[in-house]
């Protein structure tokens, strides 16, 4: 059966209908099994393409953009991944990332809480009859300032059931200007992944909390760089704070 509405199918698929036409056609679609079946068939067309592995870190970038930009009307042009940069290791592609920014005070409280939890666990496990508890390991490190950088910082890493929670806080930071941010990275064998960014408060303090849902990497270094802008997938700025961490932790 073909009628005037059926003829609009291709305009619909082409996104060429105005708002009212679109609504009318969608109402038609609800009534016309044939048009709906044709639309459904187009859902299989991607399988004509060869399967391509996702870009390294793509899921993290896209979900961050989806959730972080909520409510901002600006389109996504500025989120465009920068070209011609060395790609981070391919193993990153399938990991789930979440970052959130905390004020230094909240971050400090959280740090205490994370350490408290881990400490409580170690207390427990000293008891011979303690039940098997989930595997928890924590590590805190003082970050070393690079030459000519006045700031200081600490990082806390808590590994729990395969996930990694990372909290970094820094003090006496130099103020940023323009788009600049302090960016935290985890590295393994010199290959970095971005793990959250922050700008200093008026008191020149900053902190970031980051969770890696499935952490199997065995990171050996943590570093903070001063980046010219947010969202870089590989460092462009200078390292200002860094420390070695225990990959076995």
């Amino acid at each position: 059966m073909t009628n005037v509405n059926c003829d609009q199918l291709i305009d619909y698929l082409n996104g060429a209908l105005n708002e009212q036409e679109q609504k009318q056609f969608e109402a038609h679609l609800a009534e016309c099994p044939e048009c709906r079946e044709i639309v459904d068939a187009t859902g299989e067309l991607p399988y004509l393409a060869d399967p391509v592995a996702p870009n390294p870190g793509m899921k993290a970038r896209i979900l961050d953009a989806v959730f972080d930009e909520e409510g901002q009307p600006a389109p996504l042009a500025e989120e465009r991944p920068t070209r011609n940069k060395p790609a981070p290791p391919a193993t990153m592609a399938k990991r789930g990332f979440r970052t959130s920014k905390w004020t230094p005070l909240v971050a400090a409280a959280l740090l205490v809480s994370l350490l408290g939890n881990a400490y409580a666990f170690y207390e427990l496990s000293d008891q011979p009859d303690a039940p098997a508890a989930p595997e928890v390991a924590f590590e805190t490190v003082d970050l070393q300032a690079s030459e000519a950088f006045e700031g200081t910082g600490t990082a806390a890493l808590v590994h729990e059931e395969g996930a990694l929670n990372l909290l970094v806080q820094a003090n006496q930071l130099e103020p940023t200007s323009g788009e600049q941010v302090y960016q935290v990275w985890l590295l393994k064998d010199g290959q970095p992944i971005p793990t959250g960014a922050f700008t200093p408060s008026q008191e020149n303090e900053g902190a970031v909390f980051f969770s890696l849902n499935e952490d199997t990497e065995g990171w050996d270094t943590i570093a903070v760089t001063l980046e010219p802008n947010r969202g870089n997938t590989a460092p462009q700025g200078e390292v200002v704070l860094s420390a070695a961490i225990d990959p076995e932790a």
Partner: protein, 192 residues
């Protein structure tokens, strides 16, 4: 365990459930990214298009319900149109796809690969039942990122004719795909 339907997950996304969005993303990341790579010939552009699609899903731009057909088809339409817009903005000519088609590395699971192969065989088989002209229409519309206006211009045929040819091609694709899916192997010589 029964898999939650796409439509139900989408409902949750409308209720701002981030996990539901992530689940939908995981389900269709590879399929849509592979498609967008083929269409744009550019991994970065494909990523940008995919991001736009999921931003729209999250913000509820153009809402979906089951009366509009399958969720995945709705996603594919959005993906195609996002890529068409980006290609147009960039004025970037499509490149020969062999140059970027970096075929799947070893990190996908066996089931995932098997499912891809099955789907891929079905759609390839269905497409073989289209006439050459019809295959060309589908290719230009879905894989070259041409609008029907561009196809009309490039092929020197009237716009109305282009639309009805694409429609006819997709209609035949639908029929042959249904037969492939229902009947297993389709006799290659049979006319539809």
């Amino acid at each position: 365990m029964e898999k939650i339907s796409d439509a139900l997950l989408y409902e949750r996304v409308r209720g701002k459930d981030k996990d539901a969005l992530e689940e939908l993303y995981d389900r269709y990341e590879k399929m849509l990214f592979s498609y967008l790579c083929k269409m744009t010939g550019d991994r970065d552009l494909a990523e940008e298009a995919l991001q736009e699609v999921f931003v729209k899903v999250w913000r509820g731009v153009g809402s979906y319900d089951e009366s509009k057909g399958k969720f995945v088809a709705w996603l594919v339409t959005m993906s195609r149109n996002a890529a068409v817009d980006l290609i147009r903005k960039q004025k970037k000519p499509s490149v020969p796809l062999d140059e970027i088609a970096e075929v799947e590395s070893t990190d996908s699971s066996v089931e995932e690969t098997a499912e891809w192969q099955e789907k891929s065989e079905q759609i390839h088989q269905a497409v073989r039942h289209l006439s050459e002209e019809q295959q060309k229409m589908v290719h230009l519309f879905y894989f070259k990122g041409y609008t029907h206006e561009t196809i009309a211009e490039k092929c020197g045929i009237p716009l109305g004719t282009v639309k009805s040819r694409i429609r006819l091609a997709l209609k035949k694709l639908k029929t042959s795909l249904q037969m492939v899916q229902e009947g297993g192997v389709l006799d290659d010589k049979r006319e539809l």
